[in-house]
Amino acid sequence: MKLFTANFLACAVKSCRTSPASFPLHFRDAELEQQELDFQPDFIRNILPRLDWDALQVIANELGFPKLPENKPADDSLGDEGLLRDIHKLLLETQVIEGKLVCGNCGHEYMIKEGIPNFLLPSHLV
């Protein structure tokens, strides 16, 4: 599971929807893997405005990555190829292979196995 996907995911439990603590989900016991991919600057430029930068900072920090720029890159800095490559690497080329995603509101844990997270809920949470 890639870090950019985590930016679109919150706790699936309905009663958590309104709680700001249900996003971002927090990685626990995460085992990371790097995978080299073709650089896609057009995708990064398109997707950046839709990302929650604060949430990405929280997650990157929890996983022990170097500190991200304080503010989300916009306008001029989108022409900075070095910066776009760094973001591409973090968002698309970094994978969590094993571990858990934990809701900051209800504490529910979603398992990640072989890179695939499972968001199915037990019946008492549906």
Partner: protein
């Protein structure tokens, strides 16, 4: 300027919607001048040659695009028009290498006949070398033997009746080829990971075209299965996400450490960098945040014929008693954290599921983002299931693929800008999510499908002649 498109003669109701989707994707005006569902030749107006190349480049159902020079209903008329209307163009191509191609629909010519026909155009005075491979200019003579708008005329040809003369002849200069070759490259027979319900390559690529999949975009399939749609969207450059309530469907048979089955397909096509993620989830309890972040959603939701539709939850018993809503703990560990845990599921309504998809799409698609959804219908007219609608989504096109006992439709929607709403008055208001109990009560399509099947069976057993 008028251009001629030579279509593949199948999936007729998809041809214009695909063409129009591609025109709006490249941002060009397109006017249909002449279209006949029973003919491969279609005349359109486009601003210029670049627009023509751009529109055909990704097409799956179009084969080539031509600059239409002229036409006639006989060779006499055609030659008169070539001389009278196109003479000012001849000098431009006088020294280019060239060839002539004779194509026919509903009849064909022998090589000798073709050579004779080509010879009659000698007066155009092209002096460049004749080159059969990659010539600078390729002039096509296209003969249509069938009268316009007549689906039955091909039948007489196959019965061995005399061919007769072409009803219409076009003279055109080749401009560009389509992406039709991709249907071969993506052929399911050659794909590493498929299942019995994988969408065929051609329709799946058409779906990606209708949804405007393209470089830089983010696409999602909430019923990803073996990943046919996301593989197609990735072919056109989109980064893709997929989910399924049954994780086995996208994983496949997998030894520890092997990539999931869907990813093996991306590897086969060299589009690994377009593979975002796959995850296990249910559209009615999705973990995806509800804000506008998706450029496109492509899906073929389950029909509920073999298995009933299911979502997370427990089935309420007929006596109305609620099944266990309490957390179950085994050996001090919550049951749902045990490795072999299987989340309980309950039956769900066909229309409720479609309404959920539209609701999800209206919340997650960016403005002008597209949803392409397949939907089965029983193919009798009085029983036609209404097109599901949503006030934030505009219906762009509805195309139909007919089968023997049923049909399925591809419905394309576009997310409207805030403040605009579409007219949903013709959609069905009934929401049957909580009312039914059996599979047929929950699924109008399933009910109709089996009623028809039964009807057909009794009819053939009696051996009675078709009465309807």
């Amino acid at each position: 300027m008028e251009y001629l498109i030579r279509f593949a003669q199948l999936h007729e109701t998809f041809r214009l919607p695909e063409l129009q989707s591609l025109a709006s994707l490249v941002g060009t005006d397109l006017e249909i001048v002449h279209y006949d569902p029973c003919s491969p030749y279609c005349i359109i107006k486009l601003p210029n040659e670049d627009a023509a190349r751009a529109v055909i480049a990704r097409s799956i159902l179009g084969k080539e695009i031509f600059e239409l020079w002229t036409q006639g209903s006989t060779y006499e008329e055609l030659h008169a028009n070539v001389r009278g209307r196109t003479q000012h163009r001849w000098a431009q191509f006088k020294h280019d290498s060239f060839r002539f191609t004779v194509d026919g629909y509903g009849g064909h010519r022998s090589l000798t006949e073709k050579r004779e026909i080509i010879g009659t155009f000698n007066y155009m005075g092209f002096e460049g070398p004749i080159r059969m491979k990659n010539p600078d200019q390729d002039f096509w003579i296209m003969e249509q033997y069938t009268p316009d708008f007549s689906p039955d005329s091909l039948m007489s040809e196959s019965k061995g009746e005399k061919r007769g003369d072409p009803k219409k002849i076009y003279f055109a200069r080749w401009i560009g080829n389509s992406s039709r070759e991709a249907t071969n490259q993506y052929d399911l027979k050659k794909r590493r990971y498929i299942s019995t319900t994988s969408m065929d390559a051609e329709l799946s690529l058409i779906t990606a075209n209708m949804a405007h999949a393209g470089p830089g975009k983010l696409f999602y399939d909430p019923f990803v299965g073996t990943g046919g749609f996301i593989v197609s969207a990735a072919h056109f450059g989109a980064v893709t996400l997929g989910s399924d309530i049954d994780g086995r469907s996208f994983r496949g048979k997998q030894k520890k450490g092997d990539p999931p089955g869907v990813f093996r397909n991306f590897q086969q096509y060299g589009t690994e960098s377009k593979f975002g993620d796959v995850f296990t989830s249910d559209i009615t309890n999705t973990p995806l945040r509800e804000y506008q972040f998706l450029d496109g959603i492509v899906c073929d939701p389950p029909y509920g014929i073999r298995e009933g539709l299911q979502v997370l939850g427990t089935r309420e018993s007929r006596r109305g008693r609620n099944a266990a809503k309490e957390e179950i703990i085994i050996d001090g560990v919550p049951a749902h954290y045990r490795p072999d845990y299987i989340a309980p599921k309950r039956p769900y309504g066909f229309e409720a599921l479609q309404n959920d998809i539209l609701e999800f799409a209206s919340r997650t698609l960016v403005t002008n983002g597209r949803l392409c959804m397949w939907m089965p219908t029983a193919s009798d007219e009085d029983g036609e299931l209404a097109t599901p609608m949503h006030p934030n989504l505009k219906v762009i096109s509805v195309s139909v693929q007919e089968f023997n006992l049923w049909a399925r439709r591809l419905i394309t929607y576009q997310r409207l800008p805030e403040g605009e709403v579409s007219d949903v008055s013709s959609s069905r208001q009934l929401k049957d999510g909580e009312t039914g109990y059996t599979a047929n009560e929950l699924n109008a399509f399933r009910k109709k499908y089996f009623e028809k099947k039964k009807e057909n069976k009794t009819g053939s057993e009696k051996g009675s002649p078709a009465s309807r």
